[in-house]
Structures are given as C-alpha cells and as structure tokens.
C-alpha cells in the first residue's frame, strides 16, 4: 500500500483542457505522472460508458476536462457533460465507488497551472482514498 500509485484516466477536450495541459508542458511545470491523457474532441464526447469502462478496468480515478461554461468550442458540449457527470457520480456511488474518484474540471487553454494543480490534488486525494474497490485482486 505504501507504494500505491493511483491510476487516473484523463479525458481532455482538444480545444481547452488538452491545450491547457500542453501549456503546462511548455511552461515546464512539474506534477505527478499519474494521469494518462486521452484526447477527445469535446468533453461532450465523453460517453458515460468510457468512464464506467475505465472504472471497471481498474482506474482509481477519472478526470474529465472541458472548456469553461460559455467557452465550449461546440457551444454546449460541456453543459451536457456537466449533467452526465452529475448522474454518473450518483451511479458510481451505487457501485461502491467514492464519488471523488470522478472529477470534472473546467480548464482553459491558458490555465496550465490549473491543470497541474488539479492532477496533483486528485493524485493526493486518491492516495488518501486508497485503490479502487473495483480493482481486481492481483
């Protein structure tokens, strides 16, 4: 348990959060390597099944990053995501997962620092929570 490193899948929208994560790189910010990014066109593309699939395959946390309200490149995709994530949080709770394991953040292309903070904070919180109860025993 001491060496437990949470596995985070990060779905990042191409226009805002992915670019924000790029900016974190360009700015050479340093943060925890636990989140593996997957680029999606819009946070609205994040099908609830992606999130549930990630948890069922042993993800300790899932981060969804989208544009700030009003800034979505596709007008309203992020609002759809907001609603979906709310429902999903309730659903994963039923599955025995803590709702903190699923996190939705609005991170713009200029918020490299916020991306860093979110990944670090999520890693710390997941370490406190311990491994996902859905994780298969190895």
């Amino acid at each position: 348990m001491e060496n437990y490193e949470p596995k985070i899948i990060a779905f990042l929208c191409k226009w805002c959060t992915y670019a924000g994560a790029d900016l974190a790189g360009v700015s050479r910010l340093k943060f925890s390597p636990n989140a593996i990014p997957i680029r999606v066109m819009c946070s609205g593309r994040v099908d609830p099944s992606f999130i549930l699939d990630a948890f069922s395959k042993g993800a300790d946390g899932v981060l969804v990053g989208g544009c700030h309200p009003g800034d979505c490149h596709y007008a309203q995709g992020n609002y759809k995501t907001l609603r979906r994530v709310k429902l999903l949080k309730a659903l994963i709770k039923e599955m025995g997962l803590e709702e903190e394991r699923l996190r939705l953040e609005w991170i713009s292309a200029s918020e490299g620092n916020k991306f860093k903070e979110v990944v670090n904070d999520m890693t710390i919180k997941l370490k406190e929570l311990g491994p996902s109860p859905l994780k298969k025993e190895e």
Partner: protein
C-alpha cells in the same frame, strides 16, 4: 495496399526531440516496449523526427517495412500532427492513419522522475497505437467557401486587414463599434520613431477604406452572434441606431453646433466637451453624426429637438430602431485592439483623483495639433503652462502583485516621444522620466531614445515611483534612483502615467461568440505563439493588432497584412478541405429515436423517413458539411448508431484497457 485490412502493420517513430524528450524519457525503452505490441511491425527512434532526415527515415521505413499506419511519439499534435500526416501521405499512406502520441508536453516536460516518465510515455504511446490500429482510411470532405470576409474592429489593424483583403479582390465588411473608424491611432499626436503626424498617415487609409469598392463599412455596429464554420460563417451584426439618416445627412454640422447638451468628449479624453449629437472628431469616417441617447435631452427629458429643427434636410430620425443584419462570410479577422488600463486603478499615484495626473493617451491629446489646446501643453486643472513634467513608465505594467504582470511594450517608446515632444514645445522645461528598464527593440527605436536623452536632454531616472500626491498647485512625485540608492522628490506641474494596456472592453463576450480562446491576461490566444501567431485555434478566424497582445503600429500593420494573406490564401481555392473526423450514423442500427437530433449544436442531424424492406422507418440523417465532429450525439445515442470516425467507442475501450493494464 488495403489500409483497412484486419492485420495492421503499425510503425512507431519515437522522437528524442534533442534532449527535450530523451533527457527525461528513455526513448529506446519506449520503442522496445512498443515493439512487443501486437500489430506493431516497426518501432524505432530518431533525434529529430520532424527534421528533413527524420521525415525521410519515416518514409523509407514505411516502404521498407510495408507499414500501413503510423504513430509518431513526439510533441503535441497541435504542433506537428499536420507535418507527420502529410509525410505519411507522401509515403502512400492515408493521413488519417497517422497519429501522434504526445510524450513531450504531456510527459517529458512535466515530470522529473525518469522511470515514471518513461512508464507514462509507454502508456501514452500504447494507447495511441491501439487507436491507430482501429483508424480507418478516410478522405477529406470538400465544402464550398463563401469568398467574403469580415473584419471586426476599425482601428489601424482592422483598416489594413480590410484593405489588403479588398485589394485581393474580395468583398470585405469592416465592423466598428464607434461611429467612425480610426481607433486609437486617430487619437495620437505624432508617432515614433519618425514623428509622422498620426492623422497624416492614418486618415488617407481611412478614406481609402471608406471609398473602396470592395469594402462595406459598418460603423456603430457590433457582432451580435456567430454561427457556422470555416468558409461558411454566418455573422449577425447589430447596427445600433444612429438616430440620423446617414443617406440624407450631408455632414454640414448644424446639428452638433446647435445642440445644447454637452458631455466630455471620448476622443479628446475628456479634455473638452462634445454635444449629444456628435461626430467624434473632425476627420471622422464616415463624417456623419450620431445621437448619444443617454445624454440627449429629448431622449432623457422629452424636450429640445433642436437638431431636428436646424437640420434642413430632415435627416434626424428619433424613432430609428436597431437593425440586425446577417452576413455570410468565409473568414473573420478579429482586430478589436486595446484600451488603457483605467487610471483609477493606480490609487498610489492618485490616478483619477488629481486632475494633473493624467494617462499617456490624454497627453497625446494635449500634444496633438487637433487636440483641444491646439497642441499647447497646459495643466488640466487650471490651464496654466507646464514647466516641470514627470513621466512614469510601467504604470500598471510589470507589476505581478497589484496590476498587470506583462510588459505593455509600447510605453517606453511613446514616453521617449512624449518627453521629446514636450522639450520641443517647452524649451526651458524639464522632462523627468522614471523607468524600470528602457526597452527599445525595434528598427530605429534605440536611436530615437538616444535623441530624447542626448539631444533633448530628458532626465531619465532608473527606479519606480512610490507615490504621487498634491501639494498646493504642484504634484509631488516620490521615487528612488536605484542606481545611486537615493530618494528622489520632484515637484512637477504635470505627471503623465504610461498606463498598461489591456484588451478592449467586450473581448470576453466576443471570444465566446466566436468560440476562440483568450490567454490569462485576456488577450486573444493564437494557435501557436511562434508558428501560427495570427491564427486562432478555430480555423477561419484570424487576429490582427493589439487584441492579441500589446503591439505598436508597425507590428499591428504587419500582423494585419499577415492575417489578410491567410484569408487570401484560403480564398484562392474554390473548395475547402475539411477533416472527415465527424459523426457517422449506422443506418441499420439507428432506431430513429431522435435523441441526437435534439443534442446537435449544429443542426447537422435531421429525421428522415425511408423505406426498409417494404416498411417505413424513421432514422437520423447526417449533413456532413454541417457536422463539426464534437461527438455529443455519439455519447448520447442509446443504440450506438451514432459513432465518431476514428474515435469510435470500441477504440476508446481499447485505449483505456492498454493504459490500465
């Protein structure tokens, strides 16, 4: 080669990026691990994959190893996705079967632990290999272009961009929120480093824009909404009611000469008054007045109507309503410029409190021959002449704690100009300048600054001003000379603050309408700071001038030309190639529930009734030209009929699996 065959041959090219990646990530180990994956026929590394030899290596390997799809593990796809896609295409592959694994921005640059960074790089690359294995061979979608452009903002950048596009032969709409074009430059007295009179070089351009057969000026107008996409935008423009019928108005001036309501003139920075019906300045283009309804006695109190009485041709129209017009356009240039950081924010300098502490732009109006004093330097408080003047540079700029963290770029030069012009007008006067650093990077700029100090004897003191306060008739400036370590006190007649500049009011709303990004300081964010400095991330939308960041006139004009050339190169073909990474409806699976239709922000999906095996069935039909590929439909489709090309749900599951294994 059948690139959709069931047994893919993937080639993985891992870039060292010099030491940018290889300094943190063990690239050889990445290649080694990836080579073990099923379907990977080749995995190798090279020091600079984007360089000519790197690209050649890729092409040769594709041929030699009979690869049918490619992953490049390198920098962000924002930077070189296109480069590598074109290279794969040149090697005979389908460009949409070339994918980028971002192991630089998202990995080597943000982690220090080599082992962990290498592990992460392997996972990222593996996930992209899984993606590319499922990628289908796709062809671009061709869409027609509306060869008309809109330029938002009628300052020097907007005027230049509009002229360049119009001279290329295309209809251009120049949108300006004020009643006249000209922007900030129209307010300036002389311009560094040549001391050309600003009006002399700008007003001919204003007239040229106004008379150009391909330019339609839309002043006193604002962008209401924007829809559509590159090549085919629909922009709604709100034409604010001028209350004057400009088709009839001759610009004689009887109305504003007789109008009894007087308010501070925006153009003269409050140094003089204007009427409620007014043209902002005598050289305005168009030279037609508008009624400022907030200050008009008729609109406010229901009395007066003097303008209507004196207008012999009956051009006054108190009932004029705002009008919304819709324009089809292929490209948009945003040139909304800047404003001065409000003087009131600098309370430590008594900004907004003391009449003899003024902003740089206000001083321009005092210097200008077309200003309220005819170019005479006087104190705004009592009209007395000025002998001792203090210029404070970096007023609000380069101040991380209190104000703006960035350098406003133009102030060093215009302060040198102010001090020089002051000395030209007041020979026995003393011009003191406080500075942190003097930045004069620009052609002939350093020489200009030397003239100010050596020939015109402006007295430069290195140090920040701590406080400005009134003492009798004088303003007292406290500062420190950091070169001698001594405190400095100057009793001056006038203090001029070289205010920080910030984006114009309304940039946030406009940015949201256009779906483009702004940076942490509110300036427009370009697609790439070095390689794509005039483009937004949204194709078809370009930037010109200080809306993108502080800029002087030569830079603004250059950028306007660059933006125009981007528009012209786009208009030089008849069809646009659009990425085919959009939605696809599986007709056999679609049940016609219509969930996707309600969700689509582009109205790209509609219900269709077709006949299937003799029965009428309902299903969703996609309009390829309208779909932008956001994927919202796909995430909501209960039957899985709506999928995203090369971003299908099953691809995603495989990517997730390989990351978590």
């Amino acid at each position: 080669m059948d690139s959709n065959s069931s047994s893919p041959r993937v080639g993985v090219f891992v870039c060292h990026c010099g030491s940018n990646i290889a300094g943190t990530v063990d690239v050889e180990k990445v290649a080694q691990e990836i080579s073990k994956m099923e379907g990977v026929a080749y995995a190798g590394t090279y020091i600079y994959m984007c360089s000519d030899p790197g690209q050649k290596l890729m092409r040769e390997t594709i041929e030699k190893e009979k690869l049918d799809r490619v992953v490049v593990a390198a920098c962000s796809p924002t930077l070189h996705e296109k480069t590598f896609q074109i290279n794969s295409k040149n090697a005979g592959l389908n460009p949409y079967q070339c994918e980028i694994a971002n192991i630089r921005e998202h990995c080597s640059w943000v982690h220090e632990d080599n082992k962990k960074a290498t592990e992460k790089a392997i996972k990222i690359t593996k996930s992209i290999v899984e993606k590319v294995k499922e990628d289908k061979s796709l062809t671009d979608i061709e869409v027609p272009i509306t060869k008309k452009a809109i330029v938002i903002g009628g300052g020097v950048s907007g005027i230049q961009a509009a002229l360049d596009i119009a001279n290329g032969g295309y209809k251009t709409y120049l949108i300006e929120k004020d009643s006249s074009i000209g922007g900030k430059m129209a307010k300036l007295s002389e311009t560094f480093p040549t001391l050309d009179c600003s009006q002399c070089i700008l007003t001919p351009k204003m007239v040229e824009a106004s008379n150009h057969p391909n330019i339609e000026l839309m002043t006193y107008s604002e962008v209401e909404s924007v829809s559509g996409y590159v090549g085919n935008f629909k922009v709604k423009i709100k034409k604010k009611p001028t209350s004057v019928n400009w088709d009839l108005c001759t610009g004689c001036g009887d109305c504003y000469n007789k109008c009894p309501a007087k308010v501070p003139s925006e153009f003269q920075e409050g140094l003089s008054k204007r009427a409620a019906i007014y043209i902002p300045f005598p050289q305005a283009v168009p030279n037609k007045p508008v009624i400022d309804r907030e200050n008009c006695l008729y609109y406010q109190k229901g009395i007066c109507k003097i303008c209507e009485k004196v207008c012999k041709i009956g051009a006054i129209d108190f009932d004029m309503k705002e009008d919304i017009v819709e324009i089809d356009t292929g490209a948009i240039v945003v040139a909304t410029g800047y404003r001065e950081y409000p003087l009131e924010n600098l309370t430590e300098y008594g900004g907004g409190k003391y009449p003899n502490v003024i902003s740089g732009l206000k001083f321009e109006r005092l210097l200008s021959a077309s200003g309220p004093t005819g170019g005479q330097i006087i104190r705004p408080s009592d009209g007395k002449s000025v002998k001792d003047i203090v210029f404070v540079q970096c007023a609000g700029s380069r101040d991380i704690e209190e104000h703006k963290p960035y350098c406003s770029k133009i102030c060093c030069m215009y302060t040198a100009k102010h001090a020089m012009l002051f000395k030209h007008k007041v020979h026995d006067g003393n011009a003191y300048v406080f500075y942190i650093d003097v930045r004069t990077a620009g052609k002939d700029y350093e020489e200009f600054y030397y003239r100010t100090t050596e020939e015109d004897h402006a007295l430069y003191t290195r140090g920040k001003v701590s406080k400005i306060f009134e003492d009798g008739e004088k303003v007292v400036v406290w500062g420190v000379d950091t070169l001698t370590g001594k405190k400095v006190e100057i009793k001056a007649d006038l203090a001029v603050l070289a205010m920080a500049i910030e984006p114009s009011v309304g940039i946030k709303e406009l940015q949201q309408k256009l779906k483009i990004s702004i940076d942490e300081n509110g300036f427009l964010k370009e697609a790439h700071p070095k390689l794509r400095p005039v483009e937004s991330m949204t194709s078809g939308i370009f930037f010109a001038g200080a809306a993108q960041g502080p800029k002087d006139i030569p830079e603004s004009v250059s950028q306007a030309g660059a933006a125009a050339s981007k528009v012209l190169s786009m208009f030089s073909s008849n069809m646009l190639h659009k990425e085919p990474l959009i939605c696809e409806i599986d007709e056999d699976v679609c049940s016609g529930c219509g969930v996707c239709i309600a969700l689509c922000p582009y109205k790209a999906l509609e219900a269709e009734i077709t006949t299937k095996e003799g029965k009428e069935v309902k299903r969703s039909k996609l309009n390829e030209a309208l779909c932008q590929g956001c994927g919202t439909c796909s995430s909501a489709c209960p039957s899985g009929a709506a999928t995203m090309r090369n971003d299908e749900t099953k691809n995603m599951f495989k990517m997730i699996e390989v990351i978590l294994e």
